[in-house]
Amino acid sequence: MEIRRGIAVSPGIVIGPALILDNEGVLIRARTVPPTQIDNEIVRLKVALAEAAQASKDRQKSLSAKLGPEVAEILGAQGGFFDDPVFVHSIESLIRSKFYSAEYAVSRTIRALVKRLESAADSPLAIRYRSDFLDLERQLLGMLLGNLEQGLPQVDEPVIVLANDLTPSETAHFDPKIVQAIATESGGATSHTAILAGALEIPAVVGVGKFLSDISGGDTVIVDGHQGWLILDPDEATLARYTELAQRERTASGTFLAVAKYVPAITKDGVQIGLYGNIEFPPEARHCLDRGADGVGLYRTEFLYVNKTTDPTEEEHYQAYAAVVKDMGDRPVVIRTLDIGGDKFTPANSPLYHPEKNPFLGLRSVRFCLKNQPLFKTQLRAILRASIHGNVSIMFPMVSTVMELRQCKSILREAEEDLEEAGIPYKKGIRIGTMIEVPSAAILADVLAKQVDFFSIGTNDLVQYTLAADRNNEVVAELYNASDPSVLRLIQMVSNAAQKAGIEVNVCGEMSGEPMFAVLLIGLGIRQLSATPRKIPELKRVVQSLSAADAASVADDAMRLETAREVTSYLRKQLRRIMPDANEAP
């Protein structure tokens, strides 16, 4: 048994069989099959060989026209191996004598051939063929396992996916019912895969370091998404302990959720706090409902653009938004317009790619949209169209000046007029809000408050811009601290401006999901928090454990402190007093 330590990025405990995705996206499933399956595996092999041979012939034909007959012949020549009697027989005998799965038998046979090539290294022929043979392996495994383009092929039983790394688009396609946990060799806490795993609520551990060569597909592994452990080949005692822990987790969250869902978040002195969910994908709307959220406080729309080479169509936008709005019924859904740029991934071949020296201070978000109005309008139209299905509000990210806000509103009006003219229905009087995440917007909050229906404080970026520190840059990351008094003062400023103007304000950054900050925010007058759905039940408990008056005096005292460290320590103490069994932030 080995315990490998990585970074916990999505909590939960899962015990299950490994499904290994190697670097080239080639799947190695179980190594062996039960004896009764042998004939089936031989049939699978034969079919795959025939299909691969045919594909090779087709490829040769189509490439002959493009690249000329000689080159095409090379590729076609590969196809000749698929009916090589000796080659095929070697694979078959591994299946029959060692009960290997077809995939494993193919892989073993080819790897053995490659080894023979390596031992004849002095022959120039030998070197040439290595990649040809590996290509054969890939082609055959591809046929055996179906289309490997996106996500997993036909996998029926729940698995734990293990890989060196996973691309966001691969992860986004995972079905949490099948992929019960993830562990990767590379990756960090803020990588997109980590965020996606968290969003999909799939327990995940990343950055474990090399471990793939130490396991085989089908091995039992344990993913501990709390401690950040990947346990290989667990011994009986560990297996028993974790089985119990997993069981307890399932029951606990089950009971908790069943109750929490229906009880509103009201403080001891009768103040109601709205708890909303932050989502990225349409299916997460269900998570919000399951957790008893009052609505979606932040619908991030970037995934529609990430990893694509063409812009999403208005219809694609509309389908995604409509799905969420319909799921949420009459609960509010706040849709944020494109916030791409900075560390959000845009592939270099995308027309949106614009290399900058200082992307966080560059053409991001609403600035990008204002310079790409057709793109902006497409999204706005889709949001307006989706508004007929429910209670939709629209929000603009990274607004840094009053002019920008006015321009956004003007373009929104144009979009409304366009729809009007085309006779396409939309709900009139859609609520318009702005994110407050750039210090300039916080400082001018009183002016902006007169021009919108609500504010949403994006604390992640607000902290970054206020302290001028990149949270992903390890050498300065410690400066990035939500507890810093400067940030708290800005939040207070925004909250006061909203109250004075009579508009709503919510906090949608990570801060709002942390119990100790929730206390502070409520004390500063915030009455709506939007967090990742998973956190909502706990936030509800926090709200129910405190009185707003008490929270206000906690906030008063906290605002007098001078350093982030003092604030953190003070808030932790207060949280412990208010809710002795709270989960504390790390």
Partner: protein, 100 residues
């Protein structure tokens, strides 16, 4: 009708500069499969089944290598010369260098 019984012949590989590489190996195997009986090529200690392009490749036979071709079966003599031609061809319309 093969009146010669077992055919055993020495063949010197041509196909400059690569020798018995993928193309001739494939061609050889393809032709070999059109007849009954065994066909083998031996290089020193290694004996390859003539119907397996994989085994033929694994002989790693550069130009100038002497291979022993053995055949039996009724139709062997029909294709014998063609097989030899494949192995010894001087005119090698070759693949691009340095593999893909």
């Amino acid at each position: 009708m093969n009146t010669m019984g077992l055919i055993r012949q020495s063949v010197v590989v041509g196909n400059l500069p690569m020798g018995l590489h993928m193309r001739p190996a494939m061609a050889f195997a393809k032709l070999a499969r059109t007849v009954q009986g065994t066909i083998s090529l031996t290089h020193g200690e290694k004996k390859a089944d003539g119907r397996s392009p994989m085994e033929l490749l694994m002989l790693f036979a550069p130009p100038g290598t002497e291979l022993i071709l053995e055949m039996d079966g009724d139709d062997a003599d029909c294709i014998l010369q063609s097989l030899i031609d494949i192995l010894t061809a001087v005119d090698g319309a070759d693949e691009s260098p340095a593999g893909s």
